[in-house]
Symmetry: C2
Subunit: 101 residues, 2 copies
DNA sequence: TGAACATATGAATAGTTGTTCATATGTTAA
DNA sequence: TTAACATATGAACAACTATTCATATGTTCA
């Protein structure tokens, strides 16, 4: 080993990790996740409850999905999004603990 | 309550939370934090071990400090930075768990 | 005091990102 | 099939961000 020590992840993991945190680093996406904490929701309902356009929500949902923070299922014309796993909750919970000090 | 439900944080907390995650959303800052996981380090040593300019590291350390992720102490000409608290470790650990699936 | 060293900082720039707008895709019901 | 509805997507633009460069600030030692 030259510059990195034993606990430094490799470049790929570092970038993946940074990318993951970037996803959490936007208040619109956080709002979507907080809504989904309560249960699945359709795109239109998310747009309504967050008072944003359908397009903006859809773009952000795509980012959340690509990063595997949410899943989706279609039911007729509607598409319902839901939390992908519990890491989402715990990461956000740790973040909240940090800022409440 | 109108648009927000009982678990939705207020706007201020949401923005603070997004800002916190933004700090983690950069690979240079993550690298700095991983080095600091091993113990405190001076600005120059960080620059050397990460193979980056002193200025770039200093700018990023400022962001980490403003967001209370690191502390600093001066010892002569050197300034040593260290992790501010254990939330930093746990947030990053949760992130790593998520991407390793 | 002045030189040498370590760190911080402001301005500039290139690259990235979130939203909007227009429109495309997909689904249902008549 | 066609209209109406729900969602996705691409392009464009404004806002933001990380690095570089030049230089300022702060510290030590001779």
């Amino acid at each position: 080993m030259s510059k990195a020590n034993k606990t430094m992840p490799n470049e790929t993991e570092l970038y993946d990790l940074a990318d993951l945190f970037k996803v959490f680093g936007d208040s619109t996406r956080l709002k979507i996740l907080f809504v989904l904490f309560e249960g699945e929701s359709s795109v239109g309902d998310l747009a309504t409850s967050l008072n944003m356009t359908q397009s903006a929500i859809s773009h952000q949902l795509k980012i959340l999905k690509v990063n595997k923070l949410v899943n989706s299922r279609r039911d007729g014309k509607l598409i319902f999004y839901s939390l992908a796993d519990e890491h989402v909750r715990s990461i956000i919970a740790q973040g909240r603990e940090h800022i409440e000090e």
